[in-house]
C-alpha cells in the first residue's frame, strides 16, 4: 500500500522560512503547488521535458518536477510570486519588459521564462542574443516563436544596467 513516511524539510521560499512535511516521493513541484499554493509554477509534462515548472534553487534554475522535495533542505527557493521590483506597479525590469514587448501570448511558460532570465541577468548583466537563447533553452514556448521573449530579456538587461548606473 502507500508509503506514508513523512520527512521534515526546512527551506526559504521567496524570503520566508518554511517548515513542511513531505513524503519521499514528493517533488518540489508537488510541494510548491499542493502544499504551499505557489500556483505560478506550471506543469506541461511530467519529467523535465518542457521546463515550465522551473524555479530558482539558490539562484539557479531547476525543473521542480525532477527535484525531490527532501533535497532542498536549507536552500533558497524563488518562484515568480517572490519577484518584486522598482518598475511601475512594483514590477521587476524583466516583468515590465515581458509585458511591454508582447513576450507572452498564453502566458503559461512566462513564469519559467522570467525566472530563467533573472538567473541569467544576475550572473551576466550584459548578455548577447546567443547567451540569452542558451539561458532560456530549457523552457518551451508554443505561442510566440521565442523572438519577442529574447527581445524582452535584451530590453530588461538594458533597463537593469541603467538602474545600477544611476
Amino acid at each position: 500500500m502507500l508509503n506514508e513516511t513523512r520527512i521534515k524539510v526546512r527551506f526559504i521560499l521567496n524570503g520566508e522560512s518554511r517548515n513542511i512535511e513531505c513524503m519521499a516521493a514528493d517533488t518540489l513541484f508537488d510541494t510548491l503547488r499542493d502544499s504551499l499554493g505557489t500556483m505560478s509554477v506550471k506543469q506541461g509534462c511530467d519529467f523535465g521535458g518542457c521546463g515550465v515548472c522551473s524555479v530558482l534553487l539558490d539562484g539557479r534554475p531547476v525543473y521542480s518536477c525532477l527535484m525531490p522535495t527532501w533535497k532542498v533542505e536549507g536552500s533558497k527557493i524563488e518562484t515568480l510570486e517572490g519577484l518584486k521590483g522598482k518598475e511601475l506597479m512594483n514590477l521587476d525590469a524583466i516583468q515590465q519588459a515581458f509585458a511591454t514587448n508582447f513576450a507572452q501570448q498564453c502566458g503559461y511558460c512566462t513564469p519559467a521564462m522570467i525566472l530563467n532570465a533573472k538567473a541569467l541577468l544576475e550572473r551576466n548583466p550584459n548578455p548577447s542574443v546567443d547567451q540569452i537563447k542558451d539561458a532560456l533553452s530549457g523552457v518551451l514556448c508554443r505561442c510566440t516563436g521565442y523572438m519577442p521573449i529574447v527581445e524582452a530579456v535584451m530590453q530588461a538587461a538594458m533597463m537593469r544596467r541603467k538602474k545600477t548606473q544611476v
Binding site: 506541461g44 521535458g49 509585458a99 507572452q104 502566458g107
Partner: protein
C-alpha cells in the same frame, strides 16, 4: 459638408485605439504569475481523478471488476461506460461501453481523496479484453475487401466505401475530358503525418456539483458554451443546469475540445457529490485526445501551353481515427482550402474522412486546410519547375482575381492574393528555381546548401458560430463588457477592449472586460461560439459594436428630453452625450444617473431610472450548404470572406546529414485592418514557427496500433534554437463587414510555411520531398534517389 459639422469633426475627432499596439490587457496578470488556468483551480474537498485506458487498438470489453478498488479507503467514485446514456451518435463516448476502438481509450475512471489513491485504485481494477483486428491506414480502411475491421457507429451516415465517415465531392466542368486536351498532365501524391497541438497546458477539467442538482465545470476549452451544450448531451442533463467556465487557457490551437473527458470529470463529481479535478498527463493528452488528421492527397493537373491550369482533380483522404469528434464536419475545409486560391475552370475533388483505430482526429490551427495547402503548393512548385516558369509568375497567372467566382460558386471579394505575393517577393527575392545543385565535394563550407522557396494560400472563416455581447455603461463613463470570450493567448481580450474603447472614444483602462476578472462563464452572458475557425474577432467584434450602439441609443433617448434634442441627433463619445449638429448641447454621462442613499443613509449610490444603459448585440454570418452532387453552394456562401497569405522561406540543408535548418521566413498576411498590429504580427510569427515544427520534425508515430513517441524527448516541438528569423508583413485590405474592417490573423499563416520550406529545399538541392515531416532521413533518401538518376 457644412463648415459647422467639419468643425465638430475636428473637435470630436475620433479618439480611437484601432491600429494601436496596446499592451495586452492580461499581460500584468501573466508576468506576475497571477493569471490562473484550469490546472490552477482548487476547491475545498476536491477529489483527484485518474483514468484506466485500453492497451489495445481495438478490443471487446468482456468484464470490468471494480470490487477491490471500491474497498480502498479514500476512493469516492468509479465510473464506467454503464454510467452514461448510450451514445446514439458518432461522437467519442466519454468511456468505452462495449468496445474500445483505439489504444488508450478510457475504460474506467476513479476519483479519490489523493492522486496516489486514484492511481492505486486503477491497479486494483481488472478489465478483461478480447483483442480484435484493427486498422490504422486510412487507404486500407476504406478499400472494400481489404479492411480487417469495420468501425461501426450506431447512427452513422454510410457512404459507398467502408469506414468512410464523410465524403464531399466537387464537380465543376469536366476534368477528365480536359486532361486529354492538355499540353501536359502532372500527378503527384502528398502526405502529412499526425501532428499535435502541443499546447503547453495539458487537458484538465474541474467539476463541482451545484446545489440545484446541476454541475459547474472549469474547462480547458475554447468556449464555455461549447462545453455546456456538449456536456448536456453526454450527461443527459438539461443544458441550463450546466455552467461551464474557462479561465486563461495555456495554449489552444484547436485542441482541448475534449468534452468526452469533461463528461468523465462531471460524472465523477455528481456521483461522489464532491468537486473533482481530472488532469490528463502529457502522454494522455498526446495519445488519448484528438490531434491533426494525417492525410494522403493526390493532385492531378492539366496545364496548357501558356502555363494556365485548365483542369485539376484532387483526391484527399483524411485519417479520422475511431470517432468523428468534430472531424466529419471540418472535412469541408478541404474544399475551402482547395478553391480559395487558384482559378481553374475544370475542377473535380473528392474528400474523405475515414475511420481507423486511432484516436479521433480533431481540428488544429487551420484544420484540414494545412494539409491541402501543403499538397497544392508543393504541386504548384512542381508544375512551375517542369514548365520552366518562374514560380511567382506561374502562381500569378493562375490566381483568383478580385470579383471572380471560385469553384464552389462564391464571389471572391476583398482578397489580396497578388498583394501578399508582391510583398514577400519584394522583401526577399527568390533564388530562381532549378539554379542550385548538390556540391560535388562535401568540404566543411559547402556541406550546407542554401535555397529559397515560395508558397501562397488563403484561409476562410466559415459562417455560423454566433457570438452575443452585452455592454453596460456606468455613471463614471466606464463600460462593462459581458461576453464569453476565451483568451488562449491570441490577445482577444485586448482586441475586444480596443474595439469597445474605440466605439466609446474612451481609454482602454475605462473598459471593464468581465472575463478578465471572472474568466469566461457560460452563465454570465449570451451564447458565444468561442474561438474557432478565424471567427472570434470578427463575430464578437461586431457583436460588441452592436451592443455598444444599442447602449448608446438608450442613453440618447434618456438625454433627448434633458437636452431638447431628438435622440437620433445624439451620439455618445468620450464620456459625453452630445448633439451631432450642435456639439455645445451636451451632457456628461453622470448627468443621466440619479443618486440615492443606501447603507443606512451613509453612502450614496447611483442608478438609472427605468432600464440600465445596457445594450445587447448578436453577430454571425449565415451559412449556405454544398450541393451533395456538384459541390456548388446553395443558399449562400460557406465562407463570408477569405484571407490571403504568402511566405518565402530560406533554408540551409546539410548534404551529408540531411538536416534542414530554416534560416528566415518572410510572411505576409491580409488581416483586414489590424486592430492591434503587434498582436497580429505575433499571430503570424507564432503560426510560422508552429508550422515549421510540423514541416521539419513533428509527427506522432504509430507502431502496432499505438503511439510510440508520446513524450517531449521523442516528439520534438521547436526550441529556442530551432526557430528561424520571421519577418511578418501586415497587408491591410479592410473587410467591409468586419469590426473596423478587421479580418483574422490566428490561422492563415500556418498554411504557406511547410510548402515554402519544401520548395526551398528543392531550390537548394533539386530534390522533391512530398511527405511531411521533412526529416533528415527523407532528405537523404531523396538525395540518394537524385544521385542514382
Amino acid at each position: 459638408m457644412s463648415s459647422t459639422s467639419q468643425e465638430q469633426n475636428l473637435l470630436f475627432k475620433e479618439k480611437t485605439l484601432v491600429g494601436v499596439p496596446l499592451q495586452k490587457v492580461d499581460s500584468i496578470l501573466k508576468v506576475t504569475g497571477k493569471a490562473l488556468y484550469t490546472k490552477d483551480v482548487r476547491l475545498p474537498d476536491m477529489l483527484h481523478a485518474k483514468i484506466k485506458r485500453c492497451p489495445y487498438p481495438h478490443a471487446r470489453i468482456l468484464s470490468i471488476d471494480t470490487s477491490k478498488a471500491e474497498q480502498i479507503p479514500g476512493v469516492r467514485a468509479i465510473v464506467t461506460g454503464k454510467d452514461f446514456p448510450v451514445q446514439q451518435n458518432e461522437d467519442t463516448p466519454a468511456v468505452a461501453f462495449s468496445e474500445a476502438l483505439y489504444a488508450n481509450q478510457a475504460v474506467v475512471a476513479v476519483a479519490a481523496d489523493q492522486r496516489r489513491t486514484s492511481e492505486l485504485a486503477l491497479e486494483m481494477i481488472f478489465v478483461e479484453y478480447e483483442p480484435l483486428p484493427w486498422v490504422t491506414d486510412p487507404e486500407i480502411a476504406m478499400t472494400p475487401g481489404k479492411t480487417p475491421t469495420k468501425i461501426v457507429h450506431p447512427s452513422e451516415t454510410w457512404y459507398e466505401d467502408p469506414n468512410v465517415g464523410r465524403h464531399i465531392k466537387i464537380r465543376k466542368g469536366d476534368a477528365s475530358a480536359s486532361f486529354k486536351e492538355c499540353d501536359r498532365v502532372i500527378e503527384e501524391k502528398y502526405t502529412t503525418g499526425m501532428v499535435s497541438h502541443f499546447q503547453l497546458e495539458p487537458v484538465t477539467f474541474v467539476a463541482q456539483p451545484d446545489p440545484d442538482g446541476g454541475v459547474s465545470v472549469w474547462a480547458t476549452s475554447s468556449g464555455p458554451h461549447k462545453t455546456q451544450y456538449e456536456l448536456s448531451r453526454y450527461l443527459g442533463m438539461d443544458a441550463d443546469k450546466i455552467r461551464a467556465k474557462v479561465p486563461f487557457l495555456g495554449g489552444w490551437f484547436g485542441s482541448k475540445e475534449e468534452c468526452h473527458v469533461a463528461a468523465i470529470c462531471a460524472k465523477l463529481a455528481l456521483k461522489a457529490d464532491r468537486p473533482v479535478k481530472l488532469e490528463l498527463s502529457r502522454e494522455e493528452t498526446l495519445t488519448a485526445t484528438g490531434q491533426r488528421h494525417p492525410s494522403v492527397i493526390t493532385v492531378k493537373d492539366g496545364i496548357n501551353k501558356g502555363g494556365k491550369i485548365v483542369a485539376r482533380q484532387i483526391r484527399a483522404i483524411f485519417n479520422g481515427g475511431a470517432y468523428s469528434s468534430l472531424g466529419n464536419n471540418v472535412v469541408i475545409n478541404a474544399v475551402l482550402g482547395a478553391v480559395s486560391v487558384y482559378d481553374i475552370p475544370n475542377f473535380h475533388m473528392d474528400c474523405y474522412r475515414v475511420y481507423t483505430n486511432e484516436q479521433p482526429g480533431t481540428p488544429m490551427r487551420g484544420p484540414i486546410g494545412f494539409q491541402i495547402a501543403w499538397a497544392i503548393e508543393c504541386q504548384m512548385e512542381r508544375i512551375a519547375n517542369e514548365l520552366g516558369m518562374d514560380p511567382v509568375e506561374f502562381r500569378l497567372k493562375n490566381v483568383l482575381k478580385e470579383g471572380s467566382e471560385n469553384a464552389i460558386g462564391e464571389l471572391m471579394e476583398s482578397i489580396s492574393h497578388d498583394k501578399v505575393l508582391e510583398q514577400v517577393t519584394s522583401a526577399m527575392k527568390l533564388n530562381g528555381q532549378g539554379k542550385s545543385s548538390i556540391p560535388q565535394d562535401s568540404t566543411q563550407e559547402n556541406k550546407w546548401v542554401r535555397g529559397r522557396g515560395v508558397a501562397l494560400s488563403a484561409k476562410w472563416a466559415p459562417g455560423g458560430s454566433p457570438h452575443q455581447a452585452m455592454v453596460r455603461v456606468k455613471e463614471s463613463g466606464k463600460v462593462e463588457v459581458w461576453v464569453d470570450v476565451v483568451e488562449n493567448g491570441q490577445g482577444i481580450y485586448t482586441g475586444i477592449t480596443q474595439i469597445v474603447a474605440s466605439e466609446f472614444g474612451i481609454p482602454s483602462t475605462d473598459i471593464l472586460l468581465m472575463p478578465l476578472v471572472f474568466g469566461s462563464d457560460s452563465s454570465m452572458s449570451g451564447l458565444s461560439g468561442g474561438a474557432s475557425a478565424s471567427r472570434q474577432l470578427v463575430n464578437l467584434g461586431n457583436a460588441v459594436l452592436e451592443a455598444s450602439s444599442n447602449a448608446k441609443k438608450l442613453m440618447a433617448e434618456r438625454a433627448s428630453k434633458k437636452l431638447g434634442v431628438p435622440s437620433h441627433d445624439l451620439d455618445v463619445r468620450e464620456g459625453r452625450v452630445f448633439s451631432k449638429t450642435d456639439f455645445r448641447r451636451s451632457l456628461k454621462i453622470s448627468e443621466l444617473f440619479l443618486r440615492a442613499p443606501i447603507v443606512g443613509y451613509r453612502t450614496v449610490a447611483s442608478f438609472t431610472e427605468g432600464v440600465e444603459f445596457v445594450g445587447y448585440g448578436t453577430f454571425y454570418f449565415r451559412q449556405g450548404k454544398l450541393d451533395p452532387e456538384t459541390g456548388m453552394t446553395i443558399g449562400g456562401r460557406i465562407s463570408p470572406f477569405y484571407m490571403s497569405t504568402a511566405q518565402i522561406a530560406e533554408v540551409s540543408v546539410n548534404v551529408e546529414t540531411g538536416q534542414v535548418r530554416v534560416e528566415k521566413i518572410v510572411a505576409a498576411a491580409d488581416v483586414g485592418v489590424a486592430i492591434n498590429p503587434d498582436l497580429a504580427k505575433g499571430q503570424i510569427v507564432g503560426s510560422v514557427c508552429m508550422a515549421m515544427g510540423a514541416a521539419t520534425s513533428e509527427e506522432l508515430v504509430f507502431k502496432d496500433g499505438k503511439i510510440i513517441n508520446a513524450n517531449l524527448a521523442d516528439y520534438e516541438i521547436p526550441s529556442i534554437f530551432d526557430v528561424p528569423l520571421v519577418i511578418p508583413i501586415l497587408v491591410e485590405n479592410p473587410l467591409q463587414n468586419g469590426p473596423f474592417g478587421a479580418k483574422s490573423a490566428g490561422e492563415p499563416s500556418m498554411f504557406p510555411t511547410a510548402p515554402a520550406i519544401r520548395n526551398a529545399i528543392h531550390d537548394a538541392l533539386g530534390i522533391w520531398v512530398n511527405d511531411l515531416p521533412i526529416t533528415s532521413e527523407r532528405v537523404l533518401e531523396a538525395l540518394q534517389k537524385l544521385r542514382e538518376n
